[in-house]
């Protein structure tokens, strides 16, 4: 939600954040709401400046957030006004899945020794990466709606056409003589994944409907239990619950704000999920002053998640191809990961676009758009497992840009791991503890380790600052802001994109004469961002605008033509097909993936790759005018 929208709230509940001090400029909007009569609630173990201006401060034990929120859920669904108010009941039936019926295989924690059904057993990873990413995760198979089985039809369709051979011994021919169709169209695949609509009971009485499961699960969260677990006095908790309910309804909205005091818990996503559940019960979504405000900690932390420098996802939250699942071919991957309805039904287009952003014209139908070149992850390569692996000698080199792990989580372990590195590159504004770990770490200063025994080759590159760089931040509410370059950075200070671009250009030269198949992907990687400005070009700066253009999406046969909005593209497709069918005409093929003689759109972040020839362009225009007429 947009922070300014909090000015329209009738109640703002801040939990897991000291917003007044940590996001002070955004905090003016809850304060504006307060001046208009809204209630401010602060749930936090500490009494901070946020608590000082709140109407209610509810102290809880650190980590007991779910007990508190669970208590609120239980209070709300048993409240007489909530049950009687047609707004809440209509919202529940029509805007949530409360009425949908869940399969009989599902077991709640109460009936399953304290865990929900589907908890994954430990599976040893590969010898190459024995750090498994599935431990502690749930398999959602038993959580499906009644009458539907997760992706079974899809898997059958995928395997019948993919021809993938699993477990081929090294050296054997991996593929059959006639290659199966690897490329698009993927419409048949997506359609085969569509499940029948879930069974529903709009009276919400069926024992396995979502609402009844929820009611049973949260029944234990009584005010007494909340007081026992959280330490928050019963009366304070009840005051919060009453205020929350009184500030929600057809003419009132409540918003939530949270920060790292939720997200840095190991059960952070569950806390946030619980708050989302509560807001859905109260109808506090998609309305002015309603919603959940995630107060991110850093300028573009949202940008690094949307355009991910994160191991587990590729652009726009698509899962990174992995060796642990059936992702052998593009088609396998799509069969395993596509959600066949709604926006994500277009996932094949997103993936093809992403691959085209990587390999350009070398990504073709025939080679599955370069699928084989793209690396597959072997398990959990996240921050901590990678440092553990570094300590085990499995990670040899590290590029550290704008981050200081020597003072981060389990810092002693991380410093010990860095002493095993062959090389470390630090690019930062300041000569921080990670850059000088071989010199100023407590272990070195204390005489436990001698610099002479640390074999790591270390580089430090000074950075340009924000006003010396042009580029985009994606702020907390996914607002994108471009910042311009105001001055030249001093000395050898360079932008972050300069570093990556110059490294890439040098590596391209080093691999230019390689004929090894393993280097084919890198040799086909498109990497031309040369600056149009002669001064910047002389400094070796890449053009941030060209990078932004690639993230945004463009027509590959007309690179100056940007993708206007992605949503427009998808909506047009749906409208066009619907109109064509409604008029009883032939179904015109507007397959986004088809690489006909037409155009395609590349948009790796929010996706989209379509073929549009003149004929279908006109078709879309016609559909547009028809839909306007209707």
């Amino acid at each position: 939600m947009y922070p300014r929208s909090m000015a329209d709230s009738d109640c703002v509940m801040i939990m897991g954040s000291n917003m007044a001090e940590c996001h002070p400029v955004a905090f003016r909007w809850p304060m504006v709401a307060k001046l208009k009569g809204a209630k401010l609630i602060h749930v936090d173990p500490r009494f901070t400046r946020t608590s000082a201006v709140a109407d209610i401060h509810a102290p809880i034990r650190a980590g007991s957030d779910i007990a508190f929120l669970g208590g609120l859920v239980n209070y709300v669904i048993n409240d007489a006004r909530w049950k009687a108010d047609p707004f809440f009941q209509t919202w529940l039936v029509h805007y949530t899945n409360a009425a949908s019926i869940i399969s009989g295989e599902y077991k709640d924690a109460e009936d399953n020794h304290g865990v929900f059904s589907g908890l994954r057993e430990y599976r040893g990873g590969t010898a190459e990466w024995p750090y498994n990413g599935f431990v502690g995760e749930y398999d959602g198979k038993s959580w499906q709606y009644a009458g539907t089985k997760a992706g079974e039809q899809g898997r059958a369709a995928a395997t019948s056409q993919s021809g993938e051979v699993r477990g081929v011994p090294a050296g054997a021919a991996p593929r059959s003589a006639t290659p199966p169709p690897t490329g698009p169209p993927f419409d048949d695949l997506v359609k085969s994944l569509v499940k029948p609509p879930p069974e529903r009971d709009e009276t919400l009485r069926h024992p396995r409907c979502v609402f009844q499961i929820l009611t049973r699960h949260f029944a234990r969260y009584t005010p007494e239990m909340v007081e026992r677990v959280t330490g928050c006095p019963r009366e304070t908790f009840l005051e919060v619950a009453r205020t929350l309910l009184a500030s929600s309804g057809s003419d009132r909205t409540t918003s939530f704000a949270y920060a790292v005091a939720w997200t840095q818990h190991t059960n952070g996503p569950q806390i946030i999920g619980c708050a989302a559940l509560l807001q859905l019960l109260l109808g506090n979504f998609g309305r002015p002053g309603a919603g959940i405000m995630a107060l991110r900690g850093h300028a573009s932390i949202q940008g690094s998640t949307d355009v991910p420098t994160l191991y587990h996802s590729i652009h726009g939250y698509m899962p990174a191809p992995t060796a642990l699942k059936k992702h052998g071919t593009l088609r396998d991957y799509l069969a395993a990961e596509t959600l066949p309805t709604g926006y994500w039904a277009a996932m094949p287009k997103f993936v093809v676009s992403y691959l085209k952003s990587m390999y350009g014209a070398a990504a073709t139908r025939e080679n599955g758009f370069g699928w084989d070149w793209h690396p597959k992850i072997l398990g959990d390569h996240s921050h901590l497992p990678t440092f553990v692996a570094m300590n085990d000698g499995k990670v040899k080199g590290m590029l550290c840009v704008g981050q200081n792990p020597a003072t981060s989580l389990n810092a002693r372990l991380e410093r010990a791991a860095m002493r095993k590195l062959e090389w470390l590159v630090v690019k930062d504004n300041w000569l921080h503890e990670t850059a000088t770990f071989w010199k100023s770490a407590p272990e070195v200063v204390g005489g436990e380790v001698k610099p002479a025994d640390i074999p790591t080759e270390v580089f430090f590159f000074p950075s340009a600052q924000v006003a010396e760089t042009e580029g985009t931040f994606t702020n907390t509410q996914r607002m994108l802001q471009w910042h311009f370059k105001a001055a030249e950075a001093p000395g050898d200070c360079r932008t972050d994109v300069w570093f990556t671009y110059q490294l890439g250009r040098r590596l391209q030269k080093l691999y230019a004469s390689s004929a090894t198949p393993r280097d084919a992907g890198f040799r086909n990687l498109t990497f031309d961002y040369e600056h149009d400005d002669p001064h910047e070009r002389a400094r070796g700066e890449p053009d941030a605008r060209k990078l932004l253009k690639e993230v945004n999406g463009f027509y590959s046969d007309d690179p100056d033509r940007h993708l206007a909005t992605f949503a427009d593209l998808v909506i047009l497709n749906v409208q066009f097909e619907a109109t064509a069918l409604a008029e009883g005409g032939d179904r015109l093929s507007v397959d986004f993936n088809l690489e006909l003689e037409g155009r395609e759109v590349i948009d790796p972040s929010t996706g989209g790759c379509r073929a549009v020839d003149r004929h279908t362009d006109q078709g879309i225009q016609a559909a547009r005018s028809r839909s306007r007429r209707n």
Binding site: Y2, P3, R4, G297, H298, G397, W430
Partner: protein, 191 residues
């Protein structure tokens, strides 16, 4: 003569033009024209470039004032609908990130086992980093797992980024890393 604290402040206020405000307010003088002039002088002939605060995620808009290409002032941009020109104390100090005597401006290299840094030429350092990335990649690359699964990756290079970096950096970094087969790509966003 014994001087009280209040007296002292009055005297110094009268003596030093920079802190004359307290004294003038005392005698009822209007400050508006002087303040306006001070404001004008500070950024007179300065060029204003729109930028964004690099600290938290609220994204307060800033104006960077430069004279002859040198940054002289950074302040909140009143045109921003979500920050309306406001900056918190941290954001208001963004100027000191840029103009700071402690700011490092040279490339440093520490050889294996060495006890101190050595200043290196930028190009030499970049060439060496490229060489090391290639060496590690080539030594640790897996085309296939022993059971035949095609993976084309190396788990032995770790790219760790901060979350105050531009979207464009995220794109080019993940592209270069994945292009090389590097899978251990992480960011402050995880933490």
């Amino acid at each position: 003569m014994e001087i009280s604290r209040r007296h002292f402040l009055h005297l110094t206020a009268a003596a030093a033009p920079g802190s004359a405000l307290a004294g003038l307010v005392g005698v009822g003088a209007t400050l508006a024209p002087s303040l306006a002039r001070a404001q004008e002088l500070r950024i007179k002939s300065a060029k204003a470039t729109p930028s964004v605060c690099p600290y938290c995620s609220v994204g307060c808009a800033t104006l960077v004032h430069t004279v002859d290409g040198k940054i002289v002032n950074i302040e909140g941009d009143p045109r921003s609908p979500h920050s309306e020109g406001a900056l918190c104390p941290k954001g208001a100090a963004t100027y000191q990130l840029h103009v700071n005597p402690n700011r490092p401006t040279v490339v440093l290299h520490r050889a294996p086992g060495a006890t101190d840094w050595e200043v290196w030429d930028l190009d030499r350092a970049m060439d060496r980093v490229a060489e090391l990335v290639k060496k590690t990649r080539d030594e640790t690359f897996f085309e296939r797992l022993p059971d035949g699964r095609l993976v084309n990756m190396t788990p032995a290079i770790f790219s760790l980024g901060g979350a105050t970096l531009d979207v464009e950096w995220n794109h080019i970094q993940q592209k270069l890393m994945r292009g090389l087969g590097v899978v251990a790509i992480e960011n402050q966003a995880r933490i």
